[in-house]
């Protein structure tokens, strides 16, 4: 499987993402933000960082980059797109994901490992996560508080678009378990179709035992499993960019 990892000015988790995906035995290459093609990739990773210095709002400028037009077309064709941290913020600003990420409620930059509960097991981003297993993955952000109005939150819940929620080590969805004050403890969501997802925690930083956790692999392995299944199901099911 071939992953395209986008690079914006001040992306800084792009190298980590490529490293993690190659570690899993798959191809990963960089795609510059001025490129208008994704180079035939099977999936897209929008990595973390501080694209355009977080000027105006996080992700607000990156969303208008030429490469984002290609990402939009790829997503509309059903391709898998995962936004991590700043990538999540960019996808929200682009309208490819619902809601928006705002300043952490405590105003602090939070950099620590958190526990995540996977809210549904059947999505392209979670199918490799064993039922009931919590993920221990680091966060590193100052603006990761997920916000959407009540009607949107209710719709996300009803349609199963909440993929991950911050929880305690016991799996309880308490206010204290959330590093940023996200509504409904939301750490990650997907679009209605289920092929575009974003999360604030960094799975690419949790793919090797030496880094303290390998739980991040499960998210990438989910995408890989979905792609392989779609490829087996026949042409057209897995779009190329």
């Amino acid at each position: 499987m071939h992953f395209a990892v986008l690079q914006f000015p001040a992306s800084n988790c792009d190298q980590d993402a490529v490293h993690a995906l190659r570690l899993l035995g798959h191809q990963a290459g960089f795609v510059w933000h001025k490129d208008t093609s994704l180079g035939g990739a099977d999936a897209v990773i929008v990595p973390g960082g501080f694209s355009y210095g977080d000027y105006l709002r996080t992700g607000a400028i990156a969303r208008f980059s030429p490469v984002m037009q290609a990402v939009r077309r790829f997503a509309e064709a059903g391709g898998l797109v995962l936004g991590i941290c700043n990538g999540f913020q960019i996808l929200c600003e682009a309208g490819l994901l619902p809601g928006v990420l705002v300043r952490n409620r405590a105003l602090q930059f939070r950099c620590e490992h958190v526990f995540l509960k996977t809210a549904r097991q059947d999505s392209p981003f979670t199918r490799a996560v064993p039922a009931g297993q919590l993920l221990r993955i680091p966060v590193a952000h100052g603006e990761g508080c997920f916000y959407a109005d009540e009607a949107t939150l209710a719709r996300l819940e009803a349609r199963g678009q909440i993929l991950w929620q911050y929880c305690t080590a016991d799996g309880a969805l308490t206010e204290q378990a959330s590093p940023n004050g996200s509504l409904r403890n939301i750490a990650g969501v997907c679009n209605e179709r289920g092929n575009v997802a974003g999360l604030m925690p960094h799975p690419e930083r949790a793919c090797e035992a030496i880094l303290g956790s390998e739980d991040g692999r499960l998210i990438f392995q989910s995408m890989i499993a979905w792609h392989e299944q779609a490829a087996r199901a026949g042409a057209g099911a897995a779009p190329h960019a």
């Binding site: 105006l56 709002r57 607000a60 208008f64 600003e93 809601g99 928006v100 705002v102 300043r103 952490n104 409620r105 405590a106 105003l107 508080c145 916000y147 959407a148 109005d149 004050g181």
Partner: protein, 80 residues
Amino acid sequence: MKARIIITPKKAVLDPQGKTVQNALAHLGYTGITAVHVGKYIEIDLAPGTDREAARQALEEASHRFLSNPIIEDYRLEIE
């Protein structure tokens, strides 16, 4: 000709920055303040001879599409 765009957090959205500034003002002894909201101010210089109505329309669009995020922010556009 100048355009000014004032962007403020929507009332329904938690504004931890405004709350923190409010608390700091109270600590400094400034009383009688019931709420503080921290937003953004954008000043735009327009080329001489720009059609005011066309500029307003363009900047309304830019404010909605790019300069503010309507999920969390309101904006006010002024052209002088």
